[in-house]
Point group: C2
Chain length 309, copies 2
């Protein structure tokens, strides 16, 4: 069964409003925002990724879901598969580092043994406090909204290719793959101004498509506006294929959000104050689906918009 | 690294009081009780256990942790490894059943693929509301307290042996293994009267030892008082070895608690009202460790007190 089919079945039993139809990054209950993501060896991380990097990623991908709801992170529960002593000790060291970095407490969890030779899997539940005005959903975009994204897109995808030896390495892209930075501070600051917000984890285009679908809008995305880093453009030509590759690469952990154009000045001010780059990618309109343009030319959607787990 | 060593390392970074030193069944934060347990194929369940039974166990073992804190369960987040279509559909069916049975909502979670042939692992985070007077810890037992346990002990361990074909099956013991029943209603009702409470998951003796250690007390346990079911006594003689086997078998998911002797009448009344069997196993005293007796004879502690994961 595909993940989408399975989630559709789960959705039929997740009828409480707190579950948000399993269509959001997180659940919201009693003023708390709750999210749970798993990572599996050989699927979400490489067997020879360092334990410190894996601990970082496990925490960061979950905190990114909290960031997308404008939540202030509080604590985590960890589900841990025991390995060998040295590896486990290094994981705890990495866990300590990432929790301190983001000011999050370890609340509890569970440790288990796995059968010899089995790939290891880790789960993490992150709990945050919802923003005073409530946590935005993916489904709040309105026709006329501007579509924004933080940071740059595509670094982590290129970093994975570097990690696999398919590209000459550069530190910026490798770091984006190994140590994603959830946009927690910006998420909390911008949340009063947004209509819809989510994090970009599976690929900008697939995540934008999900937001458009949840909102009942069409999203027009201008690929020439896609923010690419100098590190990426140092190894890739600035052509359409590069932009499509970046927009479908995933693992960016940037925030995608929409807001009324009247909020643009406030959003730019918040971003400048926090030293976070923000870019307007396009506009929401009446209709459905995403429509891509590149320098005013209509571009067909690529077959693959991002990762479908 | 053993689970105990790993948890000791984690404890050094889990310094917030909400984490309860990672020595409790659950974390308590903002009036919510939070717990996370994982189950792994080949370790916590058998590859040919039914998906419905596995879904039941995944939910029930976590709700049992909430029961031990006197919490009212609210919702769960599920971490799920995808398998084949039929299996996944049966799991959702079982999940729906167990969530309805205990009045708990599905809040969210994550689904992942695992590499082909890898054992599957599932994680679940359960969230409940703490009781008005606060959630009891494992560490609250006081010298002079009576030590109580709900239900009967040893059925699930015998049920596992039956499930493995080592014993002639009977339905009561098999059901105790396959479909543990968290003592949620009783936990919420009795909580104002208890000094310490936890659930019996790894074995009565090992869990009692943990409670004694956390409380800084000695526990005297009378094995002749250990409540054994008619179903167990139908296939086992009522001798000391049977009682020691039951007290170290695990997977009981009963509640172990201590209370002032003055509360005994109230506790019996609550139990009678809910049709829950309760038994006084012994007394807490000054000192440390657990001391076993059988018909007033001192019994040496067995080498193995329960499951050490």
């Amino acid at each position: 069964m595909s993940e989408a089919d399975f989630v559709a079945r789960l959705r039929s039993i997740a009828t409480d409003p707190a579950a948000r139809g399993l269509a959001d990054d997180a659940a919201v209950m009693d003023g708390l925002v709750l999210t749970h993501d798993m990572i599996v060896e050989g699927i979400h991380f490489l067997p020879d990724d360092t334990p410190q990097d894996i601990a970082w990623k496990l925490v960061a991908v979950n905190l990114s879901d909290l960031a997308a709801k404008g939540a202030a992170p509080v604590g985590v529960l960890v589900g841990y598969s025991l390995g060998d002593e040295e590896w486990d000790a290094a994981f705890v060291e990495g866990l300590d580092l990432v929790l301190r970095r983001f000011g999050v407490i370890l609340l509890g969890g569970d440790t288990v043994r796995v059968p010899a030779g089995a790939p290891r899997s880790f789960g993490l539940t992150a709990i945050g406090r919802a923003p005073p005005g409530g946590a935005p959903s993916r489904g709040g975009a309105r026709p006329g909204d501007q579509i924004w994204v933080t940071g740059t897109i595509g670094n982590a995808g290129l970093g994975l290719a570097m990690r696999l030896g398919q590209e000459d390495a550069n530190e910026t892209c490798l770091a984006a793959y190994k140590r994603p930075q959830p946009q927690l501070t910006f998420g909390q600051a911008v949340v009063p101004h947004v209509h819809a917000m989510m994090d970009v984890s599976d690929g900008l285009l697939i995540d934008a498509q999900r937001m458009a679908a949840a909102s009942g809008c069409a999203f027009g995305i201008m690929l020439e506006s896609l923010p690419l880093s100098a590190a990426l453009l140092a190894v890739r030509p600035d052509v359409l294929d590069t932009r499509l590759a970046a927009a479908t690469a995933g693992d960016d952990y940037q925030l995608l959000f929409t807001a009324d154009p009247a909020a643009a000045a406030a959003i730019r001010e918040i971003a400048a104050g926090l030293n976070v780059m923000v870019t307007i990618l396009g506009h929401a309109g009446v209709g459905e689906g995403i429509m891509l343009t590149h320098r005013a030319q209509r571009i067909a959607l690529p077959d693959r918009l991002g990762f479908m787990h």
